[in-house]
Amino acid sequence: MLIYCIKRIGLGILIVMLAVTLLFFMIHLVPGDPARILLGPRATPELIASMSQQLGLDKPLPIQILMFFANLFRGDMGMDVITNRPVADIVFGQLPYTLSLILTAIIGAALIGIPLGCYSAINRNSLADRVTGILSVACITAPAFVVALYSLLIFAVYLKWFPAVGAGEKGDFGDQVAHLVLPAFAIGLSWVGYLSRLVRASMLEVMGENHIRTARAYGLPERLVVFRYALKLAVLPTVTVIGVGMGFLLSAAVFTEIVFARPGLGKLIFDSISTRNYPVVMGSVLVSTILFVISTTISDLINAWLDPRIRASL
């Protein structure tokens, strides 16, 4: 297990470095002079040249990326040229908002989707199963931004149950939770449908296996068979999917953060790409990539922990 962990973490670091390098070159391929965009229309050519130098844009691209990694290893993610604040402060200031949004969405989706899938599998072909199936597919096909807009209109404008924009007052946990409900619902809804279908299919497969038949033959209560023997195995692919899904949720968070005018990494990346604020783009891309790698690594490790066969194959 230890060797497996070390291998996964090493691979994760390599993936982060490759992804960041690739994104660095991709960003620079997009036309647009960052110094000119940052300084605005009234900047003189001298000021633009000075800003380019400050950003390190006068150096060749390979040197720029090497400098970025060298600074990174010293713990320096650079300075935001607009606000003159350390990039690390900016990125880590936004990170909790995105993390709380993604985790709330995925945990909420799992808490609803997994039992729903389980129920459908147990009551296969019943009316409830069919209704659940239709609703699940409807949830999967509903784009996050559509759900966001309608949830805003219904729950914020008409019913006024939840606030429409922002992330809540600092230090007021209740207010922050209230501000989290609608955005998390918007990006989590499709995952409810997805997880429920996944768990249903997985449960049906597991329920037909020999060890489940044996457990039933021994006269174990159905509840014990389902939850202890079947669900434990059926949930394995779900864990993997949730790990990978963190990446998708990160991109969904961009739309959601814009629609709900909510701070977060997604909006930060979007804004800094628009303004060609390279230090902030690189810092936020790095942190998002690490986040994605961590989530997939954790899901792999959980899989190995849940399934003795995976541990045995190491």
Binding site: V30, P31, G32, D33, P34, R36, I37, L39, G40, P41, R42, A43, T44, P45, L47, S50, I82, T83, N84, R85, I90, G93, Q94, L149, L152, L153, A156, V157, K160, W161, F162, P163, A164, V165, G166, A167, G168, E169, K170, D172, G174, D175, V177, A178, I258, V259, F260, A261, R262, P263, G264, K267, L268, D271, I273, S274, T275, R276
Partner: protein, 529 residues
């Protein structure tokens, strides 16, 4: 009734709190839930929307309207824009101010204007420091051009001073003194801070103080107890950065905002069924939108083709399709209400198929021609491009639309960023401006070719007029010069003027807002109704 804070109605999840909150919401809805500004924790809070986040609290590095909306609430200026429908100014820190000679402005400060943080009383030394640091090379201020020909500020006494220009500079009254570079900072505070500040400020003298900045979430201004003008209206102003206008509208309707600008597309709906206890107002905007044509492009160097395109674009159709009838066709680049605005354009807003075909034939392109139109990927622009495509097709001009995201779009005509500027043919462009005509014409002089003059338009007469008009203090003569400049632009065939857009704003009736004539908010003058 007083509107309770949104959070009180949504946080408690117990059944009792839910019923209480539902009851309160019901009563609020019945009696007009959005009738007054928010009272939270006993504070009178005004919640407003800005279209972007704070970037700098230093007037030398302010990046335009967003920063200025905050800075004008926390700093004092000699004069401030007067709220209302017509451009004008009113005294702020100045007790008196006058144009003494064409190149000098004399001012006298009010006594007893205090800077916060123990930085003492405002004196003429502070004014000198504030203005001169912006034009100093060492400061590297991007706002230096706003001060035009400013030479220095001389201190005549503790409260009196003279602003001295190398040449007459009438725009100082419109875009310098009452705008970004007119903000007066404390010399001692700034020197202590190293001569430059970023998103915090060591000292202010306006009605509000900068209390907090939560990046991407809000800027909080708090009442300045030492303000010379008495007591500011609100305990706090929360400025929420919401770039999407539709989101801002939803936030307003949900009661999260007391004021916001709304999308043009919502105006007719909001007029038909406005949210309860709210008021919608429409202001003309200073933005100017036009289709530019690159006169140095091989195809577009043909003046007759450019004129054919001018006549093939139907501006009223664009007003309907892209601006939902909420904006008017423009006659040039200078908006109504400003010196130099033309009552009529040379080419009528309506398309003229016969004339367009005539010019196309004169260009030797009767069989048709294909041109490209570069557009920023915003909804209104895309629709405008589609309308242009459709109307131009009627005369045999096939328009291919290239969409760009903002970073790529704004470097299209930049000749220092590669060779792309040569390939530009038609560009749908939109510039913002400050309330002086010189701010609009400055970008179309020969010197700006390859910088912001993407049409690569060059006319010696235009350049000469542009320089002269900036220094002309007689408004009648000045107006004639700017009108002539727009005539020249239009006669070149390189420009088809589209619109100045509009600024529709909505606010709840508990607020008595204050706007510039272009609809931009002056938060320092906002009050309770």
């Amino acid at each position: 009734m007083k509107k309770t804070d949104q959070k009180n109605a949504t946080l408690e999840l117990s059944r009792r709190r839910f019923i209480q909150a539902s009851g309160a919401l019901g009563v609020a809805a019945a009696t007009g839930g959005m009738s007054q500004v928010v009272f939270a924790d006993g504070k009178k809070i005004l919640k407003v929307r800005a279209y972007g986040d704070l970037r700098s609290l230093d007037p030398a590095f302010s990046q335009g309207v967003i920063d200025e909306e905050i800075q004008s609430s926390i700093y004092s200026k000699l004069i401030q824009y007067k709220p209302g429908r017509e451009w004008g100014y009113q005294l702020d820190a100045a007790e008196s101010i006058e144009q003494a000679t064409p190149t000098t402005i004399k001012f006298k400060l009010k006594e007893g204007i205090m800077f916060t943080g123990g930085h003492g009383e405002m004196t003429a030394e502070d004014v000198k420091y504030s203005f001169e640091r912006i034009i100093a090379e060492a400061t590297e201020s991007t706002n230096k051009p706003d001060w035009g020909t400013l030479k220095e500020v001389t201190v005549d006494s503790k409260y009196e001073g003279t602003i001295v220009f190398d040449e007459a500079y009438p725009p100082a009254w419109n875009i310098a003194l009452p705008y970004i570079v007119g903000n007066i900072v404390s010399k001692s505070a700034w020197e202590k801070a190293g001569g430059k500040v970023d998103t915090t400020t060591p000292s202010v003298s306006g009605p509000y103080m900068h209390k907090a900045w939560e990046p991407k979430q809000r800027t909080v201004l708090a009442r300045n107890p030492d303000w010379h003008g008495g007591s500011a209206e609100f305990d706090e102003i929360h400025i929420l950065p919401i770039d999407d206008e539709s989101t801002a509208q939803i936030a307003f309707e949900a009661g999260d905002l007391d004021y916001t600008r709304v999308p043009l597309g919502s105006v007719s709906n909001l007029k038909a069924s406005p949210p309860e206890n709210s008021t919608l107002e429409e202001y003309p905007s200073l933005f100017y939108v036009w289709v530019g044509m690159n006169v140095e492009n091989e195809q577009l160097s043909n003046e007759n083709l450019r004129k054919a395109i001018q006549h093939a674009i139907d501006v009223p159709s664009i007003m309907q399709a892209s601006y939902f009838g909420a904006a008017q066709p423009s006659t040039g680049i200078i908006a109504p209400g400003l010196v130099g605005h033309r009552e009529k354009s040379l080419v009528a807003p309506e398309m003229n198929i016969a004339k367009a075909k005539e010019y196309l034939a004169a260009a030797g392109m009767e069989g048709g021609v294909t041109v490209t139109l570069d557009v920023l990927n915003k909804a209104a622009n895309v629709t405008t491009a589609q309308v242009i495509q459709a109307t131009c097709a009627q005369v045999g001009i096939n328009v291919e639309v290239n969409l760009h995201e903002s970073g790529a779009f704004w470097s299209l005509g930049d000749s220092s960023a590669g060779e792309r500027y040569k390939d530009i043919q038609l560009i749908l462009n939109r510039f913002s401006m400050a309330p002086d005509p010189s701010y609009a014409t400055a970008w179309f002089v020969t010197e700006q070719k390859g910088i912001w003059n993407w049409e690569r338009y060059s006319d010696a007469e235009f350049d000469k007029l542009e320089a002269a008009a900036k220094a002309e203090s007689d408004n009648t003569k000045r107006a004639a010069m700017y009108e002539k400049m727009q005539d020249l632009m239009e006669e070149s065939g390189a420009y088809r003027f589209i619109t100045h857009e509009a600024t529709p704003v909505i606010y709840n009736n508990g607020v008595k807002p204050a706007f510039r004539p272009d609809g931009l908010p002056l938060f320092r003058y906002f009050a309770s109704a």
